[in-house]
Symmetry: C2
Subunit: 152 residues, 2 copies
């Protein structure tokens, strides 16, 4: 068990380090810690600066909120994360960087992936002359269904 845990930790750590080095970012203690939280388990994550800051300090890491903000920005500029804006206030960061739709759960302000497939928007209009599509943001806002599933 100990061994397994250690192995798993080492694998996660290796993944985090590779993630950083692959983008040419200095593997500082803070960045490694945040990278570990973001991609350590290989699953996709959607975080806000605040939520990642919380997660970090829950593991006992010493990181300042400003650094979390700056780090998320660096990661995004390096192409490691995608920034998603939903509410006008908070910014969400997604470890899955290719275009894909998101669910925004209005009740609890959470963000999650809407599909596993790369999404097919059929009616996508042609970009105007001299312009190209940098990215397509699709946010599907969810609210509790009023009909269908009875609340009883």
């Amino acid at each position: 068990m100990e061994q397994l845990a250690t192995n798993r930790d080492e694998a996660a750590d290796a993944r985090a380090r590779g993630w950083l080095s692959g983008a040419g970012l200095r593997p500082t203690r803070q960045r490694r810690a945040l990278a570990l939280l973001l991609v350590g388990d290989g699953r996709d994550r959607h975080v806000t600066a605040e939520s990642l800051f919380e997660a970090a300090r829950e593991t006992g890491e010493r990181v300042s909120l400003a650094t979390v903000y700056n780090t998320l920005k660096s990661f995004t500029e390096a192409g490691l994360l995608a920034e998603i804006t939903v509410d006008g206030a908070r910014s969400y960061y997604d470890t899955r960087v290719q275009d894909h739709a998101h669910y925004y759960w209005e009740p609890d302000g959470r963000l999650s992936d809407a599909t596993t497939s790369p999404l097919g928007i059929e009616g996508l209009p042609e970009p105007p002359e001299g312009m190209e599509i940098a990215r397509v943001d699709v946010v599907i806002r969810l609210r509790p269904a009023r009909t269908g599933t009875p609340e009883a």
Copy 2:
């Protein structure tokens, strides 16, 4: 000409008033002024609080910025406007309230309609159990094309 201008103004004013009363909102001086700017000419508009505030004071209207913010919020709650979030900072308000895709012009931070038709997203995933889709936000981010039209 005088006559025509007056007629046009009256028509615009009537439209603005009808727009407000249709939503059961009190037609105060400030609201009528803002409504006039928003729907006076019957065309769709995309504004920010700041841009509408500017537009208002350019016509000589006395409206405070706070009131513009509050008014845009009221209009949105009344279903007269749709709020669109693009950059995480600014909020845009659209006089066209049904779901439709938007172009976001990265170079100048402007927002415009992407299509005239209601947009067909084919691959839209089914909403999760107990949830329904409140709205689908689609923002197509445009940047200057690097290829295609030569810059010479």
